[in-house]
Amino acid sequence: MSGEPLLEVRGLSKSFGRHAVLTGVELKVGPGELVGVTGENGSGKSTLLKILAGRLRPDAGTWVLRGRLGYCPQEPLVFGRLTVAENFACFAAAYGLADWRPAEDDLLGRFRFAPYARTLVHELSAGTRQKLNLALALLHGPDVLLLDEPYSGFDWETYLHFWECAESLRAAGRGLLVVSHFVYERVRFDRLCALRDGKLWEA
């Protein structure tokens, strides 16, 4: 890792009732670094990302984020009664982007779902919905990406395109934190951590 970390997490804890999910998580993601977090179902991977993305409040801990954040949730959080293009327009407005069309076209092409640009989202297959879910997180060219099971439901070719995209983002100096309970190719990650007993361990 070179330079100041883009994401720095210190002592993050979260419990649901008496069930402690995260107990003092420490983590750093630097520029051009791709960090993977793996763990069993219910180990707290998504909870960690939800906290970092602002969807959940932690019980304790702090984190510093340097730059713009892109967050791809595990479940596609998109508008079902809008088309793919309209979803892009909504999120572009949220990001404050004046001209998002080139980025939209690039993402539609990169993840191979351009033919569905005018299709209503609730008519899409689960895999295509996931492509949109991921593309919306990338639309504004974020500096730090939090990706929760980003390739679930992808076919093999799209899975490979995802990694091409991740590689180009890493080469551009972005920081990526990828959470997945399946890690097929460890070699793709700069670091791989396992979330166990509420703590992150270098795998």
Partner: protein
């Protein structure tokens, strides 16, 4: 985008017109022209009015259908894609922009439903003051629309939301606000404190008397405004980062 998404729910839009037509047609079919005596508190304490059962039933059901439909639509506007909306806020959208867009759509819905129901009712009979009766329907939609927004802001799950809307709307606008029940009610203050009371008074007074409706209309508007204010606070808090 909110309006566009709603316009794509074709079956729901169709029901907005089919349901009132069925309600009004049913009342026109099953009621008689028998004269009944009812009490309208806004016309003065103990003031009794005589009217046709059918005409009274039409105004009552008109208000009920406007209130119930707008409450459900408002609930749907707030609950549908709620987590996607929250993601939008986390990405930079301001909650007040989202609520403003949804309220604009809601007001348009209330106008359309209230106007359609007012036209339907007037096919069957001519109220004393049609515009003021329409205002009563409009206020019924306003109050119950705001109630639907509040329920949508308060509860996350659809079933709880539907139950809360059905329970209150059914007992209030669908039952106890019928002036037929008011005269013999044991605790009238309870009826007067429910959301549909003032809109009901406005529509009944306008349909059957020359009594001014301004005071009741203002109270109905204020009632809805209070519900909306609470809903906005709840919605704004729920949309903040780090909350669920």
């Amino acid at each position: 985008m909110t309006a566009r998404a709603l316009l794509r729910s074709r079956v729901a839009l169709l029901l907005l017109f089919v349901v009132p037509t069925l309600f009004v047609a049913l009342i026109a079919l099953i009621t008689s022209h028998r004269r009944i005596v009812v009490e309208l508190p806004s016309a003065g304490v103990g003031a009794l009015l005589e009217m046709s059962q059918r005409q009274q039933g039409l105004v009552f059901v008109g208000l009920a259908v406007v209130g119930i439909l707008t409450a459900f639509l408002a609930l749907d506007l707030l609950q549908r894609d709620a987590e996607a909306t929250r993601r939008l806020v986390l990405c930079g959208y301001r909650p007040r922009e989202i609520i403003a867009a949804r309220l604009t759509v809601l007001v348009a819905i209330v106008m359309v439903i209230a106007s359609y129901v007012a036209v339907l009712v007037q096919i069957v009979f001519r109220p004393a003051h049609p515009a003021a009766m329409w205002l009563g329907f409009l206020l019924g939609g306003w109050v119950y629309g705001c109630y639907g927004v509040l329920v949508g802001a308060l509860v996350r799950r659809e079933l709880e939301g539907i139950l809360l809307v059905v329970l209150l709307a059914n007992i209030d606008v669908g039952w106890v606000q019928n002036p037929v029940y008011y005269a013999d009610a044991q605790v009238k203050s309870v009826i007067r404190s429910l959301p549909a009371h003032f809109p009901s008074q406005v529509s009944m007074l306008a349909a059957f008397t020359d009594h001014p409706v301004g005071a009741a209309a203002l109270r109905a508007f204020a009632y809805g405004a209070v519900l909306l204010a609470v809903a906005l606070v709840v919605f704004h808090r729920r949309m903040q980062p780090g909350r669920r």
